[in-house]
């Protein structure tokens, strides 16, 4: 035991700046790890509720321990937080109140109880506001030891129990079916969470604990699809925001640590929100724009096919004006789309750029699209009992997505049909450009 204490002692930095940095790192680790579960459970504001609900516990600790025994105060706070969680659960089970209302009720009520109690014993509880609105600069060796122990505990627990905890976050019923001791796991999780909240309170304060729990985890959630990586990333982002906060508030005057840490975490989130490779807003809108462009081009190809078909495939040239009038678009617009198609060498403009013709690959793609569309229409009317005037919209969407294997399956199921529900021919896969005559 004394050995452990000695090791602990040697880990604590001597300077107050060093202490603040260490507190920031520990905070990032503890909150980052637990935050992942909280975000995945869609209970992000549980941390907020707990951080307010601990107030009666803190007051009790201060009132009944005149020598300000930190461990006792923290223990009381954890008990109060767990009570809060319990009351939320009971309210959810036994009433029609929705989870958010239960959380808000417990948050407000416990906090008010704490305030009433505190205003009764004002002289004993002078430090309570300091406790709740924490200041990382005032963290001393004892606090740090407490944080270190609890963060190590949290990390060990989370790393060893991450599978069952993950299952419980996504599907408690499945966890029960697997034979997990669900009740114990829930209790363990909320105990750890309350622990993390309570030890973080002194550093960042009651409101901003939620930020340290939610924001890094949400950023990590946008960066990866694997849970283990999310845990790691969330931890790293938590440490990063903690360190930025600690650095800014020690190097600049009048910069409160907790809010600066929160702002750093929010800044990281904004960056991730915009630039995350798959789930970021920029990547998403780029993907959307690309898909829109693809669909516009493919629809133009299809229109060219339709025009050629109406004229009985008697010639190969189609004027841009005709495409524009058929697609009800401005001519310039069609021109732009067609230039894109030419870059993909699907079409070829004539000399004066007023008409165009399909290349071989363009012809094949146009034919594929028309066939996809008509096969799908036929499938919907025959197999899904759609009315034949209801199928166009659906086919218009799916035609861009059907792959070759799907098409083969459809053709087989529909017994290699020749006509679509509207009586128009479904082009065959290997048909070349019909010369002169209408293909049937």
């Amino acid at each position: 035991m004394s050995l452990i204490l000695e090791i602990l002692e040697s880990l604590i930095p001597a300077s107050s700046v060093g202490k603040a940095w260490m507190a920031a790192v520990l905070l990032g680790v503890g909150c980052g790890l637990l935050g992942c579960f909280v975000v995945l459970r869609r209970e992000a504001l549980m941390g907020d509720a707990i951080s307010h609900a601990v107030l009666p516990g803190v007051v009790a600790g201060l009132v009944y321990s005149p020598d300000r025994n930190l461990a006792l105060i923290l223990a009381c706070a954890v008990m109060a937080g767990l009570c809060g969680v319990g009351v939320v659960r009971v309210l959810e089970r036994t009433t029609r109140l929705k989870p958010d209302a239960c959380l808000a009720c417990v948050l407000a009520l416990f906090f008010a109880l704490g305030l009433v109690w505190q205003s009764k014993f004002q002289s004993e509880t002078v430090g309570v506001m300091h406790f709740l609105f924490g200041n990382i600069g005032s963290i001393d060796g004892n606090d740090l030891k407490m944080m270190l122990v609890s963060v190590v505990l949290i990390s060990v627990m989370v790393v060893t129990m991450r599978r069952p905890l993950l299952v419980m976050s996504f599907d408690p019923g499945f966890g029960r079916a697997l034979g997990f001791p669900t009740w114990c796991l829930e209790f363990l999780f909320y105990t750890l969470l309350t622990f993390a909240v309570v030890v973080s309170l002194q550093a960042v304060g009651v409101v901003l604990v939620s930020a340290m729990l939610i924001t890094p985890a949400a950023s990590a959630y946008l960066l990866t699809d694997r849970f283990d990586r999310m845990l790691l990333l969330s931890m790293l982002l938590g440490i990063l925001s903690g360190v930025i906060g600690a650095w800014m508030s020690t190097s600049m005057s009048r910069m409160p640590t907790g809010p600066v840490m929160t702002l750093a975490a929010s800044g990281v989130f904004v960056l991730v929100y915009l630039c995350a490779p798959r789930h970021g807003v920029l990547a998403k809108s780029l993907r959307l724009a690309r898909r829109r462009r693809l669909i516009r081009r493919e629809n133009t190809l299809k229109t060219i096919y339709h025009i050629l078909e109406e004229e009985g495939f008697s010639h190969r040239d189609v004027s841009v004006m005709m495409i524009a009038s058929k697609r009800k678009e401005a001519e310039d617009h069609v021109h732009l789309t067609c230039e894109g198609l030419q870059r993909q060498s699907l079409i070829l403009f004539s000399e004066d750029k007023r008409s165009l013709s399909l290349t071989d690959s363009g012809w094949r793609r146009a034919m594929e699209l028309v066939r996809n569309h008509r096969l799908w229409e036929l499938y919907l009317t025959r197999e899904a009992n759609y009315a034949d005037d209801h199928v166009h919209e659906d086919a218009e969407k799916i035609e861009h997505l059907l792959g070759p294997s799907m098409i083969r399956q459809l053709e087989k199921d529909l017994d290699f049909p020749k006509l679509d529900p509207h009586g128009r021919p479904i082009p065959r896969v290997d048909a070349g450009y019909p010369t002169g005559s209408l293909p049937l």
Partner: protein, 319 residues
């Protein structure tokens, strides 16, 4: 007994009336708005808003330099709207869910407010922690008074009464739209209403009421006033109009109960109002005519469930 009942009068005189009225005028608009927030499953958005109005208030204070200026309320309203927009931006565009989006937005705005206050205003300002936490309901009696109907009304009571009446009129005017868009936004949109507009309007009104209430009960206890009346009323009835009336009654009862707790136990008045509201919630939870736990327990006696089983087996078709 009557000694206890008369105690507030002996301590405060006419001041007891002002304290109750003030608490009631703060709680009334909160209760009505909070009921709708609860129906829309946005109780925690109330929590978020009460924190995110902070940068708006600080900014307005920076520009006007006056804590009593109405610009503070407008700034708060705008900051509340900003929080709503941020929440929407996050959860509509990414897979982060609404609860996490709420947490991210309000903590960021609150932190921004604190940093702005610390760096730009310095320490000498009145927006202190104690006020944010406890409110200053108890200090009401030391404020200036306004003479009206032959009585000297404390100024704050008059201001808060005006806010309450305005919010109440607004709610009454938009009641049907609010109701419709809260339960079925799709139907409201198809009938030509604008649910999104209603949403933002509700958020704007909530932020303004929250800030008006801020000074008297503090930021965190405002959440209680927003959620407790609605939740209590919700446990007592299935009808929305009755629910709104019950929420208003809850506001009144918790104001009165708060005064008594304040006097009997010598505690903070604002927190006492919330605690007495909480006691009403617990009562509704145990004894509520619709959702009371005790009635449910009594209905779930073991012999009845066996009877139910017998009936189920008896009702099978016999041949």
């Amino acid at each position: 007994m009557s000694v206890y009942l008369n105690q507030p009068w002996e301590v405060f005189g006419i001041g007891a009336l002002w304290l109750v009225l003030m608490a009631f005028f703060v709680a009334l608009p909160c209760s009505q708005l909070g009921s709708f927030l609860m129906l829309r499953r946005m109780s925690l958005t109330g929590d978020a808003i009460s924190h995110s109005v902070f940068p708006g208030v600080v900014l307005a204070f920076l520009l006007t330099g006056d804590l009593a200026s109405p610009w503070l309320i407008i700034g708060a309203g705008l900051a509340g709207l900003l929080a709503t927009v941020l929440i929407e931006l996050v959860h509509k565009w990414t897979r982060v869910k609404q609860d996490a989006a709420t947490g991210i937005s309000f903590t960021a705005l609150f932190a921004l407010g604190v940093v702005m206050m610390e760096t730009m205003l310095g320490q000498h300002v009145d927006l202190d922690l104690d006020c944010v936490l406890h409110g200053r309901l108890g200090l009401l009696l030391e404020e200036d008074t306004v003479t009206c109907f032959g009585l000297a009304w404390p100024g704050l009571v008059v201001v808060m009464a005006a806010v309450a009446v305005a919010a109440q009129l607004l709610m009454a005017f938009f009641f049907r739209v609010l109701l419709l868009s809260s339960f079925d936004a799709g139907l409201a949109a198809s009938l030509g209403y604008r649910p999104a507009l209603v949403h933002y309007g509700l958020m704007l009104t909530t932020s303004m009421v929250v800030v008006a209430a801020f000074q008297s009960v503090g930021a965190i206890l405002v959440i209680a006033l927003l959620v407790l009346p609605g939740a209590t009323a919700y446990l007592c009835t299935h009808r929305i109009r009755i629910m709104m009336v019950l929420a208003a009654i809850h506001a009144l009862l918790s104001a009165i109960g708060g005064l008594y707790l304040h006097v009997w136990l010598n505690t903070n008045m604002s927190a006492s109002v919330v605690v007495s509201g909480g006691i009403l919630l617990v009562l509704a939870w145990l004894l509520g005519p619709v959702d009371g736990v005790i009635w449910k327990w009594m209905a779930e006696e073991p012999d009845q469930s066996e009877q139910g089983l017998d009936q189920a087996t008896n009702s099978q078709p016999r041949d």
